[in-house]
């Protein structure tokens, strides 16, 4: 926090006017402090405690110790399914999101007339409300009357029955999500436009071709953006709810092939009203996300290139 001019001191070391300023400061940020306690910290602690109970919200919670966790890890086939579905989805979707996001950003980075119009068109699917876009895709993927199978039919291909076929549910949802890739493309575009032009010019002088420039300059310069997109995307995957709920159905679709983790938490907590079990599921997810985030951050030094760091070591 280099922007902060003074090292903070304890209350007793402050002059009266500094104390008044500090008091005003606490007052100004008090809405967030209240929110933090009431809507964040309190609930997290409560959730932790609830995860050791059996409770259907009426009556009093019954303390069951580690029973919920034990059951989740040893006897709950839906838990395993939900984890598999979510991780499989992440493994397919996240790399595709990065690849398509960057490719589209590169396409949008051309200096052509009317490029703004194209940027708007690519971005538009991203702002369609998730419920509406999911519904559109359920209809596009309709096996008999849907657009996609009609178009595949022109090529002589009999399309699968997408959302009714357990093998095709996840690819369908990946496709739906990629339709909104314009959202990330815009972020990569901003990253591309921050790459200093001299780097490309210097490379040209050295006789580098386009592919070399892309691999040696563009990708390293984009790596911080890719890194953050991956972290956010991973967290987002575990929070995927609406597309699964609408497209696969609230119980997770055929053979639970679309039972995303969040959908499972929702089912246990709010459909079967098992608050304790739902809390345990939510806690497992939270811990898992924190571990993954930590690992990704740890790994970042091996592949993320930070401009500021280079300056520090070179000078």
């Amino acid at each position: 926090m280099s922007a902060f001019t003074r090292v903070s001191r304890s209350w007793t070391q402050l002059s009266p006017s500094e104390r008044r300023e500090a008091l005003a400061g606490y007052l100004f940020i008090s809405p967030w402090i209240i929110g933090f306690l009431v809507f964040f910290l309190g609930p997290i602690v409560a959730s932790f405690i609830l995860s050791f109970t059996r409770w259907n919200i009426v009556g009093t919670p019954e303390w069951v110790g580690l029973a919920n966790y034990e059951r989740i890890f040893t006897q709950d086939p839906f838990f395993r399914k939900a984890v598999t579905v979510t991780l499989t989805y992440a493994a397919i979707y996240l790399p595709l999101e990065v690849i398509f996001g960057i490719l589209i950003a590169v396409v949008l980075n051309q200096k052509l007339r009317g490029i703004g119009l194209f940027r708007t068109m690519y971005y538009m699917p991203y702002i369609v409300p998730k419920v509406a876009s999911s519904l559109v895709w359920v209809w596009v993927l309709n096996p008999r009357y849907g657009l996609l199978n009609t178009m595949l039919g022109w090529l002589g291909i009999t399309g699968p029955s997408w959302l009714s076929d357990p093998d095709w549910v996840l690819p369908s949802i990946v496709m739906m999500a990629l339709w909104g890739v314009g959202g990330s493309a815009v972020i990569y575009l901003a990253g591309l436009q921050n790459v200093p032009n001299q780097l490309y010019e210097a490379a040209s002088v050295d006789g580098a071709n386009r592919v070399q420039k892309f691999v040696r300059i563009t990708l390293p310069m984009l790596s911080p953006t890719i890194f953050f997109q991956l972290v956010l995307g991973l967290i987002g995957t575990f929070q995927t709810f609406t597309p699964a709920f609408i497209a696969a159905g609230r119980s997770g679709g055929p053979l639970q092939s679309g039972l995303f983790y969040m959908l499972y938490i929702y089912n246990r907590s709010f459909e079967s009203m098992r608050m304790g079990y739902g809390s345990a599921l939510a806690w497992i997810m939270t811990v898992f996300i924190m571990i993954i985030t930590l690992l990704v951050f740890r790994s970042s030094k091996y592949w993320v290139y930070y401009e500021a760091e280079r300056k520090r070591t070179n000078r």
Binding site: R9, K130, V136, V140, Q229, A282, T286
Partner: protein, 288 residues
């Protein structure tokens, strides 16, 4: 795209430029088709009769177009009601965020107090923890307060700010020169004066972002209305639309008309605030 002329001398500079432009536009157009066709399909289905909807091969341009589908949606389900409800929720959340986010951001950006850096870091770290872990206890809390099936659970949290928006506005406020505050204090202004007369007016672009992001978040939210609202008269557009899907043998033409109606407000907002939105989202990509 930088053009290297050295390797293709025969085309000449202008010829190469044209070749680049043509291939560039070809790629752009193909991609545009991929992104726009589902939207077109949604819109054209919204204008079809039930028979046209299930025609094989599909009709690309429905003739005659059934514009009355759009009014029928309002008769089949209380869509007007959903619209009003969602606008009301968006308005209440925007008011809540404008009040709380600006106050908190001002505190973090312009005032000095012990523990400020730590509190700010704590706030940022809450962004890394999925809010789902708080979902069950929040639900329990609101149900014990008797607030299930009311709008309170969907409004109250907005009055305590949103870490991401606070971060955004605080960054913006940091960029306003401190000399302005100092000058005002010398003239006898209070902290609230400075906040209200100097910082807020100068932070207007950031406030626009707060409004736009809040509107889109509320308009798109599905999980929270699903959990808290039971009475169909209180449904939001997203929630109403999903029940419309399950309620009957799916009328795809009406459902698509409803989807078109659901995307109009964010679309209009997007066209008005495109610059800020895309700029702000690039900031969002670097949050955390």
């Amino acid at each position: 795209m930088t053009t290297t002329t050295r390797h293709l001398p025969r085309l000449g500079l202008r010829g190469l430029q044209r070749f680049n432009d043509i291939s560039g536009y070809t790629v752009l157009l193909v991609l545009a088709a991929v992104f726009m066709i589902p939207l077109y399909w949604m819109f054209s289905t919204a204008l079809k009769s039930p028979q046209q909807t299930f025609a094989i091969p599909p009709e690309w341009i429905p003739a005659p177009a059934q514009w009355e589908n759009f009014s029928e949606v309002f008769e089949e389900v209380p869509f007007g009601r959903f619209y009003l409800n969602t606008f009301f929720l968006a308005f209440a959340n925007i008011v809540g965020h404008l009040v709380s986010v600006t106050l908190v951001a001002y505190g973090f950006a312009r005032l000095r107090f012990p523990g400020r850096n730590i509190l700010f870091l704590v706030m940022l770290s809450t962004l890394m923890i999925p809010y789902q872990v708080t979902l069950v206890p929040r639900f329990v809390m609101f149900s014990k307060l008797g607030l299930i099936n009311s709008y309170w659970p969907l409004i109250l949290p907005a009055f305590t700010g949103s870490p991401f928006l606070i971060f955004l506005v605080r960054q913006y406020m940091m960029s306003i020169p401190f000399d302005l505050d100092e000058a005002a204090y010398i003239d006898g202004a209070t902290r609230l004066d400075v906040f209200w007369r100097i910082i807020l007016p100068l932070a207007r672009p950031a406030l626009m972002l707060v409004i736009v992001f809040t509107f889109i978040d509320v308009w798109n939210d599905f999980l929270q209305p699903l959990i808290y609202l039971n009475d169909p008269d209180m449904f939001t557009v997203s929630l109403g639309l999903s029940f419309f899907q399950g309620a009957r043998e799916t009328n795809w033409n009406l459902l698509m008309a409803g989807s078109v109606l659901a995307m109009i407000p964010p679309l209009i907002l997007f066209f008005f605030a495109q610059k800020q939105l895309i700029g702000g989202i690039s900031v969002e990509g670097l949050k955390g």
